[in-house]
């Protein structure tokens, strides 16, 4: 499942379209993750998780920045995300299954907001990209 040139181009094009809204969508993806996969909340017991929470929004922005970094470094995701991988593995100690839940909810968020852009080929490219991000994030584990 290598990221082809077409996959990268598709992801970059969509990211350009998202523009400054990446934070909004990442926040929505987080909200969806907490609602649809309640076990993920166990990592955020110290957060206010009520709708519109400023903490969730701030975290959404962090996730957005990391994803934007990933989009800019698709040829070296493990390198670009190595610090984040260390953080999640050794400090936060998040079980990597949870990255998949967030990845899925990101896809759902993008499908909801960009139905016209979310054709099957784009869906496939995004899914591949997120799989690679997740893989890079999990690389420091064990």
């Amino acid at each position: 499942m290598v990221l082809s040139a077409a996959d990268r181009a598709a992801v970059r094009a969509l990211w350009r379209k998202l523009g400054s809204n990446v934070g909004i969508y990442a926040t929505e993806a987080l909200e969806r993750t907490f609602t649809a996969f309640p076990t993920t909340k166990t990592y955020f017991a110290h957060f206010d998780l009520s709708p519109g929470s400023a903490q969730v929004k701030a975290h959404g922005n962090k996730v957005a920045d990391a994803l934007t970094t990933a989009v800019a470094h698709m040829d070296d995701l493990p390198g670009a995300l190595s610090a984040l991988s260390d953080l999640h593995a050794h400090q936060l100690r998040v079980d990597p299954i949870n990255f998949k839940f967030l990845g899925h909810c990101l896809l759902v968020t993008l499908a909801r907001h960009y139905p016209g852009d979310f054709g099957p080929a784009m869906h496939a490219s995004l899914d591949k990209f997120l799989s690679h991000v997740i893989s890079a994030l999990a690389s420091s584990y064990g």
Partner: protein
């Protein structure tokens, strides 16, 4: 058994009543084959699956998608007894079709994406949450008779 609150049940029923089962079925199955190409292994007899366009317009994919989603609809009418409802289909998928149950989870999540795309704003996090419970329940019921 799937545990939906009364609110979740009515949200799921309300949204599903607006779903064009024929179209959504074909779209979900098509996307499964595009996004997770190894799933094509079960559909050698379906003809041209050589590109996303070929897959999405393939009449056998559409017909089978419709079949799958009609089954899913049955599940939605029997949320209190998914294992019973899908017992025969579970045996079929294990004994005759030899389908890895992991694929049911993949299809469930693709269906959620398709619903999000069709319903937009209406597909709130709460509605998504309810549907995630349903697709997990159906996937588990379909895997239940495996041995």
């Amino acid at each position: 058994m799937v545990h939906l609150t009364a609110e979740e049940k009515s949200a799921v029923t309300a949204l599903w009543s607006k779903v064009k089962v024929d179209e959504v079925g074909g779209e979900a199955l098509g996307r499964l084959l595009v996004v997770y190409p190894w799933t094509q292994r079960f559909f050698d007899s379906f003809g041209d699956l050589s590109s996303p366009n070929a897959i999405m317009s393939n009449p056998k994919v559409k017909a089978h998608g419709k079949k799958v989603l009609n089954s899913f609809s049955d599940g939605l009418k029997n949320l209190d007894n998914l294992k019973g409802t899908f017992a025969k289909l579970s045996e079929l998928h294990c004994d005759q079709l030899h389908v890895d149950p992991e694929n049911f989870k993949l299809l469930g999540n693709v269906l959620v994406c398709v619903l999000a795309r069709h319903f937009g704003k209406e597909f709130t996090p709460q509605v998504q949450g309810a549907f995630q419970k349903v697709v997990t329940g159906v996937a588990n019921a379909l895997a239940h008779k495996y041995h």
